[in-house]
Each structure stands twice: as structure tokens, then as C-alpha cells.
């Protein structure tokens, strides 16, 4: 019985030191995880290049990344623009969209600009292209 205390103390010390060593190893490698997280877009590209289709097969890459088109996006932005008035400031519209909780407002606005639903007024502001939006094909989106 006298030796039980020493054994328990030894086991306790071993457990504590093992845990501390494990923790220190994790912390020492944490910077790699953070670097990976910071460069995730680059890693995604590298992985895509390694395992994705070859460029010759896939054809020329588009110059602009797209978010999936969504009629909901157009409707959301149309309503926002109706509320804010025209012509509107693009940065202001994006701030309002973010405040309203619209997900990916920047990419969605980019898509709407590419689709000519949001068009510049040549004075630095933008207007909603009602004619384009009201076209039957667009309306049904």
C-alpha cells in the first residue's frame, strides 16, 4: 500500500507531461495550419491543377469567376435598388446588401454587372437595367 502513492504520482506526472508535450507539439505546428488556411485559394488551385481536367480538355479558362446564377439574386438586388433609388452608388449598394444579410453580395453584384442588369451611368454611379430585367427570359429566371 505504501508504494501506491508513488505509483499514482508517477502515473500522474507521466500523464501531465505527455499532455504538455502533445500540446506543445500541436502549438508548434499551428503556424502551418494557419499558413494553409491563409493560402487556401492557392491550394485549391494547386489541387485542382493536380486532379482536375487538363487545360487542353477543359478549354480556355474564363477570365472571371462566376457564382451560380440565381433569379433570387436579381430579385433581391432589384428590390434593394428600388428602395435606395436610382442612380445608386455601387459601394453603397454592396454595404446595404451586406447589412441586409445577402450572402456573397460582391460576387452577385459582379454577376449582375456582367449580365448588364446593373449598368454604369457613365458618371460613376449605376442604374438598374429595367428593360433587360423585364425581358421574358430574364423575368422567368
Amino acid at each position: 500500500m505504501q508504494h501506491n502513492g508513488f505509483s499514482m504520482a508517477a502515473v500522474g506526472i507521466t500523464i501531465v507531461f505527455t499532455a504538455l508535450v502533445t500540446l506543445s507539439l500541436i502549438i508548434s505546428q499551428l503556424h502551418k495550419l494557419l499558413t494553409f488556411w491563409d493560402n487556401r485559394a492557392a491550394w485549391k488551385q494547386k489541387i485542382f491543377r493536380m486532379f482536375g481536367p487538363q487545360e487542353e480538355e477543359a478549354g480556355p479558362a474564363p477570365h472571371v469567376y462566376h457564382v451560380p446564377g440565381s433569379p433570387e439574386s436579381a430579385r433581391q438586388f432589384c428590390l434593394l435598388i428600388q428602395a435606395t433609388g436610382e442612380p445608386f452608388s455601387l459601394p453603397g449598394l454592396l454595404r446595404t446588401a451586406e447589412a441586409c444579410g445577402i450572402r456573397h453580395p460582391y460576387a452577385k453584384a459582379s454577376r449582375l454587372i456582367e449580365e448588364h442588369l446593373i449598368i454604369p451611368d457613365q458618371k460613376g454611379f449605376y442604374v438598374w437595367n429595367h428593360a433587360e430585367y423585364d425581358r421574358p427570359a430574364k423575368r422567368s429566371r
Binding site: A41, V64, P91, Y106, I113, Q122, G124
Partner: protein
């Protein structure tokens, strides 16, 4: 940089008129960077530390008075203030989509332009041409 085709980059308007020797001096300064949706690349009034060239993506250039325009053409430049006095950005630039760019550290670029007058003339001329075609200039 090894992921990109130097011949294709050399054909961008800003680099097109460089001689092979001049291009060999500029190319090592280029860095390939990726941007995220909503990322602020440049802030108006801050020291212009980097010069960017668009490879892919859609970027919004906007001013404190709320005016804005967007850039998406491959080879278009952003951050020309890095090589033109007073070396302060004159607009904000936000990435609307994920994107890819080439970046050049302003100090290195400026040193190169100052050390090689002919190279400097060609690049600054091209940068000025690009700026003149922008819809808004402050």
C-alpha cells in the same frame, strides 16, 4: 510565377513594347497572388506599396465620394500610384469576385524604372495610356 506563361504575360499591353532584355529585368519582380471576394486591395490615401495587373476576376475601383467603376480585363492595371508621385493611392479597390493578379512591390518597381530610363519611359507611357482610358479620374 512558374504557373503562368511568361510569353502570354509579355503580351499584356503594359509589357508589350519591352525588349527581351528589359522583360528579363521586369519578370522576376512579378508575384502571382490570389484575391478573395470582398477583399480590399487598395485604400484611398494610403501609401502606394504595390502595383497590380489583373489576370482573372472582377474588381471595383471606388472613391470616397461613392463613385465607382469596375475592371475585369486581363492585363489591366491597378495601383499605378505606386510608380507616380506622390505615391499615394487615389482610390479604393475591392475584389468583387475571387481573382488572380500579378503584383509588383512598388519600391522594387520604382527602383527598376529609375535605374533604366528607357524601360521607365515605356512602362510609364503604357500606364498613362491605360489611365486615360479609365472612365473616372480624380
Amino acid at each position: 510565377m512558374h504557373l503562368l506563361d511568361p510569353k502570354e504575360i509579355k503580351e499584356f499591353p503594359v509589357f508589350r513594347e519591352l525588349s527581351p532584355k528589359q522583360w528579363a529585368e521586369v519578370y522576376p519582380l512579378l508575384h502571382h497572388i490570389w484575391t478573395l471576394e470582398g477583399e480590399e486591395l487598395v485604400r484611398e490615401g494610403e501609401r502606394a506599396h504595390t502595383f497590380f495587373i489583373i489576370l482573372r476576376g472582377h474588381f471595383m475601383v471606388h472613391y470616397s465620394d461613392e463613385r465607382a467603376f469596375t475592371l475585369w480585363q486581363r492585363g489591366e492595371i491597378i495601383g499605378w500610384s505606386a510608380v507616380i508621385r506622390p505615391f499615394r493611392y487615389t482610390a479604393n479597390v475591392t475584389s468583387l469576385t475571387e481573382g488572380e493578379m500579378l503584383s509588383i512591390a512598388g519600391i522594387q518597381f520604382l527602383e527598376l524604372l529609375q535605374a533604366n530610363a528607357s524601360l521607365g519611359d515605356k512602362l510609364v507611357k503604357k500606364i498613362n495610356e491605360d489611365i486615360q482610358h479609365r472612365p473616372l479620374i480624380t
